[in-house]
Symmetry: C2
Subunit: 766 residues, 2 copies
């Protein structure tokens, strides 16, 4: 846990340089616009700890799998998020000294991530070894308005000297992935080039053959007067530079404005890349830095107007939730149904792949409520498009007849992950993907989605479950053997309650959807049934499983058992583990963790979160009281679920405790791993903690419901949501609840069980 960053409602501030945490700060200060992103590294040379990272959405490399002991069914490749050309690069030489904060005396240092307007600002005053002092000021952003570009304004003021400053502005595509399995480089050069004040690097990924062209355009001013000096330009493999020598007098300020563009062959024809790059560079250069920044800030203003959550009385909580919302918006804008939400977004390389079950289980609710309907729909279409690969994936494991197993980790639909106990066994991901369809349709009422996209995915998933269970002669029930539930601190267990429950739910929902689409869209449904080769005996099979599934249960305690044999473990609360042995995943052998009763993240409770309406409050409470004390929450995805359940059970203090744990996970580097990147997908969980947890938002009977409470630590909180054609602003404060219907249609909803109809552009005070 680190607390070197300053609290502020809208900014993340580091007001004294902490080189020891520089990689953490780089992760937190990452920038992105959905299309491209980068870590918050310095522009100029820095010889201290740093991890340069530039990422282009959708561009990946299938790195050869590294494995100790091969198991049949493992994928050959692990698709890695690719470190791409660095467009930040500025090498500044004064006399014969290269400016490098790690080699200089730092007189003053300040940097902020301005979340309101989406940029990073740095000012610092340093003295070089020669005694020359300079002040640096830089502003950088990746534009939300022009989402294939970014810009930097970088100023140097000569405090106590006159000398030549050499500026070397470069684009460097000769980069490596830190997580490369065999230390290979993933890019080949296509072409590099330079022109007057512009240069570019055009690279192509090996194997996947994605082209990315990255270009820069440079403008220089001294004391706001534009310089017309021509660059000495140079190229080498995957690298191009523009070098300028500028005579500077004491007191002068040299400003370098760098415009950068990243175009990918995912979005542009290969033969147009260079032409479009130059056109794009011209466009933004003409627009100018100030104008670009203004348009970018305006785009953020629009987002915040819909997305913002305001908390009064707790700056740390306010900063935390805004940081989470900010990063969610930087990572995924929903504009492209080929993209998904990587667990580290554009903030680091770790974990590879872009798509985990996190998307469906944690992120979709956020986008459903805060973005146009198409955004969540695109995430569903993404999986729909990858159905063929999911069927192939199941085929590799021995399933047939259109059974689909979606991958644990993927870029293009192919499985990447290679740990048998997860790759082959953490199959509950299939359930979350089915659930997201229900979630989307319930929220949006876009029922046609079921016949157009939903059915195909649902029948594939249900066929998988129907083959994955087997009939136990012993129990005279269907069982599901050899799975790993959400709690990854148990592997290869039998009858994980969550997975069994989800499997049966999928079968039920598939049959329900079958009836609905046959009723509502008979022709289209018929076509889809033929297309998916659906046979009526499949209904019998599904129903037999629904009727006869085995669910492990402890009647004495009145709880469901996480899996067979859970009660054979020594059951002792987490509190009994000495503090110096926490987190257990850093202190205990894997063997000891597996045999312990400790739960990494919600498992039975995760199921009760999804299917809340299937259980009485007392039942949920019994399970919560049993499992929560055994849960170590060593997954960033755990606290939000407990927050929401605790809120439902009226355990307000506990609910708040879970929120604080989640909201500042990266800002406080709670797990000591933010240097690898931020926990992007769990950030959506933090949003859920407020809206679904404290706000008690649910959809029941085709209607919005709220059951809010105000954490005693806060004065008030307010959030906005979109629901179908309505926009609502909800404020929960000490005197009550205000719900503002911002749209021009009325809405009927329930608050604490009472139905209200709020007219268009009206406020209901409760």
């Amino acid at each position: 846990m680190k607390q070197y960053l300053k609290l502020d409602e809208w900014k993340i501030i580091e007001d004294k340089f902490h080189p020891e945490f520089n990689e953490v700060t780089e992760s937190i200060f990452s920038l992105g616009n959905g299309r491209m992103g980068q870590r918050g590294s310095f522009e100029e040379t820095y010889s201290g700890k740093t991890l340069q990272g530039n990422y282009v959405a959708g561009v990946y490399y299938p790195d050869k799998t590294r494995v100790g002991w091969w198991k049949n069914g493992y994928p050959e490749y692990f698709a890695k998020v690719l470190n791409a050309a660095n467009w930040n690069g500025l090498e500044i030489t004064i006399g014969d000294e290269i400016v490098d904060l790690n080699q200089s005396h730092i007189n003053a240092f300040y940097r902020e991530l301005n979340m309101k307007e989406g940029y990073i600002l740095r000012t610092c005053s340093i003295t070089l070894n020669s005694g020359k002092s300079i002040e640096i000021k830089s502003i950088r952003f990746t534009s939300m308005a022009d989402d294939e570009s970014g810009a930097i304004s970088y100023s140097i003021k000569a405090i106590n000297f006159s000398d030549t400053i050499q500026v070397n502005a470069f684009v460097d595509g000769d980069v490596v992935n830190k997580d490369s399995n065999y230390d290979e480089k993933f890019w080949d050069e296509v072409q590099v080039g330079v022109a007057e004040n512009t240069s570019y690097v055009w690279s192509r990924t090996k194997k996947t053959e994605f082209d990315v062209i990255t270009g820069q355009s440079i403008q220089l001013t001294v004391n706001d007067k534009e310089l017309t000096s021509k660059a000495q330009s140079k190229t080498r493999t995957k690298y191009s530079e523009l070098k300028y020598n500028i005579e500077i007098n004491k007191g002068d300020t040299l400003t370098i404005v760098k415009y950068a563009v990243n175009l990918s062959s995912e979005n542009h024809p290969q033969d147009q890349l260079l032409i479009r790059l130059n056109a794009y560079l011209s466009k933004i250069t003409q627009k100018g830095f100030e104008q670009m920044l203004q348009e970018h800030a305006a785009a953020w203003e629009t987002k915040w107007a819909i997305n913002d959550i305001v908390i009064k009385g707790d700056v740390a909580a306010q900063q935390g939730i805004r940081f989470n919302i900010f990063q969610m918006n930087q990572t995924y804008t929903g504009a492209d149904d080929r993209l998904n939400i990587g667990p580290k977004g554009f903030t680091g390389e770790k974990y590879g792949g872009s798509t985990y079950w996190d998307t469906e289980a944690y992120c979709i609710p956020f986008y459903l409520s805060t973005a146009p309907q198409q955004v969540a729909k695109n995430l569903l279409i993404y999986r729909w498009k990858q159905l063929g690969r999911a069927i192939e994936n199941a085929g590799k494991l021995g399933f047939s007849h259109g059974a689909a197993l979606y991958p644990m980790v993927t870029m293009n639909g192919e499985e990447c992950h290679n740990e048998w106990e997860i790759t082959f066994e953490e199959i509950h991901r299939n359930g979350a993907i089915a659930y997201a369809i229900k979630d989307y349709v319930d929220y949006t009422n876009d029922r046609k989605h079921l016949v157009e996209y939903g059915w195909e995915v649902l029948i594939g998933i249900s066929r998988f479950w129907a083959q994955r269970v087997n009939w136990s002669e012993n129990l005279q029930k269907y069982v599901m053997l050899g799975v790993t539930g959400p709690n990854e601190y148990e592997n290869n267990v039998n009858n994980n309650w969550y997975t069994n429950y989800f499997a049966v739910w999928c079968l039920k929902y598939t049959l329900k959807v079958l009836t609905e689409i046959q009723t509502n869209y008979p022709l289209k449904a018929k076509e889809k049934l033929v297309q998916t080769n659906f046979q009526s005996h499949e209904i019998d099979k599904f129903e037999h499983i629904i009727q006869n599934m085995y669910f492990p249960r402890d009647e004495k305690r009145g709880i469901y058992l996480q899996q067979d044999g859970f009660l054979d473990k020594v059951i002792e609360p987490v509190d009994s583990i000495p503090a110096n042995q926490r987190p257990i995943n850093q202190n205990w052998s894997w063997d000891r963790i597996l045999r312990s009763c400790y739960i990494k993240q919600a498992d039975v409770l995760q199921g009760m979160y999804f299917f809340e309406n299937d259980f009485t409050k007392e039942e949920i409470e019994r399970n919560y009281d049993f499992y929560e004390p055994l849960t170590v929450h060593e997954s960033s995805l755990s606290p939000c679920v407990h927050n929401i359940i605790a809120a439902k059970l009226g355990k307000e203090a506990k609910s708040y405790e879970f929120y604080t744990r989640a909201a500042r996970l990266d800002l406080d580097d709670y797990n000591n791993d933010t240097e690898d990147g931020c926990h992007i997908t769990s950030m959506a969980g933090t949003w859920m903690s407020i809206v679904k947890g404290f706000g008690g938002m649910t959809i029941k009977d085709n209607q919005l419901n709220f059951d809010p409470f105000l954490p005693s630590q806060w004065d008030e909180y307010a959030f906005k949501i979109s629901f179908r054609s309505n926009q609502l602003a909800i404020k929960v404060h000490k005197q009550g609840i205000d719900i503002d219907n911002l749209s021009n249609t009325p809405i009927t909803l329930k608050v604490k069980g009472i139905t209200y109809t709020i007219e268009a552009s009206s406020k209901q005070v409760i």
Copy 2:
């Protein structure tokens, strides 16, 4: 399955060159003498498929672990059997053509592994591209009499030409391990050197700093007349050569005799290596090739006199058993308690490490019966010496107070293996190590071993079990969670019957040994109890576990269950798997294998093999009838156990079927993997199949018992065993059983339940 090798009682013969199987033949034709060994590659250049491998016992390299996903507790290093300097090398150039069977026309080819005398012989007639024809004859062996040396006699007859033959005899230490995890080389050069007709390479392993010096001495004759020509000598890094140019006339025979010595710093002071190498080379060179071979053959004669099993009426079976006995003797001679029995011996690199549970579970019975008592004792002392490391290993996993977990794979006592489900969970190996103590003491009656070595190992192992079980409130019994039994087609199961049973047996045996040593060696025992910090409350704990252990059982079928939940699987016999899906480990996903009921190797039956006397014949039969049909025997260690149990149950035909499957595993390349090396440790199981299976040999009530039958396919079989001070020759033939007491003391034993006393040097005909 391949059958290109010819049947012969004493030889393995390839009478037509099969380049496509050359690596298989190299494995089968491997040579060794317990100290050093090598694959049966050609001496001269061969550009076709070949795996050069030279190995020096006890010399290893800790290769950095390769792992996909790190788990706490994994070892940093995997000790690899090291490919060492190649001393076979002869490059033969005729005119300007290098002799290479892969580039020549082969007119005739013959090679044999002569198991009786322990050498490989090759004759071949080839025509080079120039049209020059030669005949090659080579004989090679690694000496059993001078066990740090080997020799080659290599002749070339010029059939149809006169020309200069250039002979380049070299030692090449610039070798790699095929299985190197990161393509690193493991040897550094210390020194290379040449003198008149001798040269050497002195290398040192990285990290472990083992020194090995490998030298050669060359003698040349033409038509049996010694040549005195001096070598042109040359060295480069880790390489030295002696080059000769010899004018040869048509019809001449050039013979190169190469003497080679391998000395390791394990056996010689570093500063003496070069002096001793030269002295050794002088000694064997003066001895001469014929004399060396004669002494070597005599050493083999002595071994065969004790070890041989004679089978009449079945050449394939005869060849198979002799091959197994031959390889066991080549791999381990028992002379050095720092050495153990690698799963591939000196025949390949695969699996790394030298020590698996195979040693205790399969090999010790062979050495007990066929070698001096000290040989098996040395294998026990090997583990005793590594006890400290086993305690450290358990400590890493979270155990304490002297609990010992022996490694899954090791060289020096440290764990090497890194698959959590095996490394951390296949803990039954601890049981086999305890069992070997009992086996050794029962067989030899060396009861003092218990107090001198046995106790320390037993208490360490029992302490591990006592901590590894836990009390289940649910079952009101002790349970053992998260293990992998001998059947590696199940992972992370609860209450594996075999492991639970073995744990309880270890506790019982430890308490029994405690009483025995306190009674027989009270002073020494007291000292050992203090040394091991033994507390009397440990007895109570052990007894409580013994009384209250849980064993999964199916009362309906009257069988023990392999583990909790086994009967929830779909139970279908192996016969129901289509032939083209066998072996399942090459055709099914790991996921499918794990969820199936199919058993890789004996599990419950392995326990009944060890603890036969604890169960009624009917009980064993019920378990056999249930489990055998579910067993795919995809481990080479499986058939021998089933052979022995089937024999006990009177299922003679089935017992014979298991024998044939095991005995020719490598000769027929049954599993298509002999090219990686031979299955050395399972060869001991083949010996057990005859002696314990067909011969029904057991120790009961401190006495030898036989209960033999003659497989109907055979005319007779005969084997010899040492038992304490007696040597016995047992012959089982169509008329009955002959037992010859070869020693000068009488022996009392049981045959088919009837007690006989056989006087010294007498024969009992039954």
